[in-house]
Symmetry: C2
Subunit: 376 residues, 2 copies
């Protein structure tokens, strides 16, 4: 920082000020989030750096767990942004617009859209300077138009990295699903559930979505079928051994096989999902909304050769970021072709004030649906 | 049968009479087992047939489950042995001595020892005629002596197919265990557990055996350590999150990794086993003695990438009997070299009377340990 401070004094020129939301210690977001301002010298970017402005930064459950300290992937705490103590910038998902690039950067130019290619980059900030290797370019609205394709909107572009990426990877990286094959998922009305339904449909794969019973169940069933769900059943039906015969009939009539289960609930819901899989089936667990463990009858392990495994996109994409690039390209294509619809998210525009208050409020509102903090 | 009956009448020669234990309908063994006698025309064996005399036929839990109708692998019911209704001969494990062979059989001769190569062959009988393809030759005592090696005893030779085969396959066919790596198993004092401990030791692999607390716990721990167990812990210790630190220390000091868990108990015991595995570990479930399902915390699926799978030797060896041949050869070698000790089993010699009474009594006595019905 010393060099920069000296430079400032001498030139008296204006630097770019970034507001970022950080934590010093883990805890409840309302207690530990704070805003830090730091300056980026845009005339002296590193050779391979890209200076970006944030357009949208979502709040995901994993971001909150990271702040609380109950998430195993954690950014390293540093003093690189001029704090007097080690800290990190929160947020993992987002959409950036390129402002300026370092002298060695050829693949990005001002106005391009980009998304983080790695986790723990800290997206809850107004501006950031990142190595070009850590960014993935996606078409901005003008570039889409130039290709004769509909542009991605900000919600689509800023929410590629968590839910649709997970849905894609779970359906494509484990079991070979042929046309007419089936998967079954609980949490069918969740964001991941809706993306999995749609991606399954695009792939020609049938799906059974398990959802909780609710007053407007018929409406929700219709919505999910509209997205492409082949069947939608309730948790009560999922837990009913008799109802399994109905499920078996659907599958038999289709000529396909029920090979894959996606579980984000746990407890007896996971048992119901696993029981319905055919021999040699796989259940992937990517969440535990019921706070109950995965429960698997011994007999389906032994005699049906059902395997239960975990899915965590972080492990997969951090091991091999090229997988992430491939999936992001596919998702962008599906959005441009209109085959994929985004899950709903609320845009909260930051105009002035203390940036961390936007995220604190967003975390409260996250109970009613995905929240984005957006910037002009 | 007609041809044979005619032949009998004409020649009046003596055929070999086999006593076999059968069921007509599933149910409790004491109610449904019966003895059937049939004759084998040893002068007219099929070209590829081997006529064998049973030396020993164990009673395994899976045999009992097969009789009760709660086991998914079932022999086809036929009238091939002259019953007036479809039925099958019980029993899957055993040791045979070859009596005579068909004209096309070169690999077997009278006096050879053989074991069933397939399941559902019906070993609870005094004599049988089997296709040569379904039998696997092992050295009889004289042949071992001729090789300068100690002979296998009847218990060793007649109990190769279930427990030691399972232990071998679980340790060798799933995870690559390097020297100094570890596995952890509950049911450490079971027959499979004891074979796994010994085979692990031969492979240079460390083991943790979880056993139930009992009055003579120190004695049992010493016995298991004598067989090669690196550590023996109680179920209480297995369930204690604090105790896990001790386990981690053992592993750290060894320089190896705890990659594999073997679970035959289920419930919280399976949770304790799975929790101790290192990242990317695998738990194989081969039984559920507690009658509780396998219970897996969501977090170890997600963040430690622990996989839970089933193990059923039937699927593996029926798909590819060559695997069974390879493992049987290895087990025979280890018995001959004295590296492997058999788990205890009680020999019940059949001399006269109704054969099915031997098995009915053996099933009652099975609660106190493995029972074999043996023949002179």
């Amino acid at each position: 920082m010393l060099r920069r401070q000296l430079f400032n004094k001498v030139s008296a020129r204006t630097m770019i000020t970034s507001h970022c939301v950080m934590i010093k210690e883990h805890g409840q977001p309302k207690d530990v989030l704070f805003t830090h301002e730091y300056e980026i010298d845009d005339d002296n970017l590193k050779e391979d750096s890209v200076l970006v402005k944030t357009l949208s930064s979502p709040i995901n459950p994993s971001d909150i767990n990271q702040i609380e300290g109950v998430y195993p992937s954690q950014p390293p705490k540093t003093q690189d942004l001029g704090t007097s103590f080690p800290t990190f910038v929160c947020g993992n998902e987002g959409l950036f617009e390129v402002v300026k690039v370092g002298s060695g950067v050829k693949d990005f130019q001002a106005g391009d859209w980009a998304v983080p290619l790695r986790v723990n980059m800290g997206t809850w900030r107004t501006y950031g300077e990142f190595s070009k290797e850590k960014l993935f370019k996606i078409p901005n609205p003008q570039q889409s138009k130039d290709q004769g394709k509909p542009p991605l909107n900000v919600v689509q572009a800023s929410t590629l990295l968590v839910n649709p990426l997970s849905a894609y990877l779970m359906l494509n990286n484990f079991m070979k699903l042929e046309k007419n094959d089936w998967f079954i998922q609980n949490g069918g009305n969740s964001a991941v559930g809706k993306y999995a339904t749609q991606i399954g449909k695009i792939m020609g794969v049938n799906s059974i979505s398990v959802i909780r019973d609710r007053p407007n169940i018929d409406e929700v069933k219709q919505d999910l079928k509209g997205l492409g769900a082949t069947q939608v059943i309730t948790e009560e039906e999922n837990n009913d051994r008799e109802y399994s015969k109905q499920v078996k009939n659907w599958i038999k009539e289709s000529g396909g096989n029920l090979k894959l289960g996606l579980n984000c609930v746990g407890g007896k819901s996971s048992t119901g999902v696993a029981r319905k899989l055919q021999n040699d089936g796989l259940m992937l667990t990517y969440g535990g909304m019921s706070f109950q463990p995965v429960i698997l009858p011994t007999s389906i392990h032994l005699f049906k050769n059902i395997t239960s495994a975990g899915f965590w996109s972080t492990t997969i994409v951090e091991k091999d970021p090229s997988i992430k690039k491939k999936v992001l390209d596919q998702l962008v294509n599906w959005y441009q072709s209109g085959e994929l619809k985004e899950a709903p998210a609320k845009e909260n525009l930051f105009e002035a004030g203390d940036l961390c208050d936007m995220y604190k409020q967003g975390i409260i509102d996250a109970k009613s649906g995905k929240q984005l903090v957006t910037f002009k």
